[in-house]
Symmetry: C2
Subunit: 150 residues, 2 copies
């Protein structure tokens, strides 16, 4: 049971931007990829998604980059994860390119799993990005350490 890499990277980008605070320079995809040791390609779609959802603001050109478009307290983790996890069906009742699960018309499992997933998100809804980046010190120390620039 795992969140997609896309969701994982979405959270990592927000964490990076949130930890550095408002006074920091704009961050580039290269900065973030370097800090986490990830490929820039993996992050491009994530950054596009975050900009589209209004979580970050990007500036083009020399000296350009990205920053949070809202305070960390205004970025709800449940909402972020819901938005990033495109497919939230825990079991594959309707597999792509295959026949639906034969018991689908009589099966109550999807409803029960939906309840459990509701409880999962209700718990995440209690947190914001601020809970991930306060205090920012330890994270900033990691992000600015020379060894994290890979």
């Amino acid at each position: 049971m795992r969140l997609t890499s896309f969701t994982d990277y979405t959270l990592r980008v927000l964490l990076y931007l949130g930890a550095r605070g408002e006074e920091a320079q704009l961050a580039t995809i290269g900065d973030i990829a370097g800090a986490y040791g990830l490929s820039e390609n993996h992050l491009k779609k994530v950054v596009h998604h975050l900009a589209k959802e209004g979580y970050i603001r990007t500036t083009r050109g020399k000296g350009g980059g990205m920053e949070l478009a809202r305070a960390p307290e205004q970025i709800n983790l449940g909402k972020v994860v819901r938005g990033a996890e495109e497919d939230r069906s825990l079991v594959d009742c309707l597999p792509e390119g295959g026949p639906p699960c034969v018991i689908l018309p009589a099966c109550t499992l999807p409803r029960i799993l939906a309840n459990a997933l509701g409880a999962f998100f209700a718990e995440l809804d209690k947190y914001t990005l601020a809970d991930l980046v306060r205090p920012p010190g330890p994270l900033v120390k990691i992000f600015t350490a020379p060894s994290s620039r890979r």
Copy 2:
């Protein structure tokens, strides 16, 4: 965000056995694979796991097969899913064969996700197999329909 196929098939095998009731003949892997249109190979490990966990009882030889080892009311869904999902880390902080996530020492996300996963399982804990197979009529109708024997 998805449960593994292993967990999905674990639930399907229990559903099949639970819906048919105590009076039914022992079921073979072939019966269950045929009913769901799944390969027998996929189910072998699942059946072995369920027997090891004490959910089913298997009998070898001619006329052999499997049946539930407990009443459906005694089979808790949260426990079944916890037992089947070997890896319950929602994000991959410690990828196999790769370096750990660089912010791991300072990151509070794993704790928050663990809380959310706890809420997910607490919800599943409210249900047993009986909630999936009562009333059994509609499921049995599907399992015994000629079209489900593929």
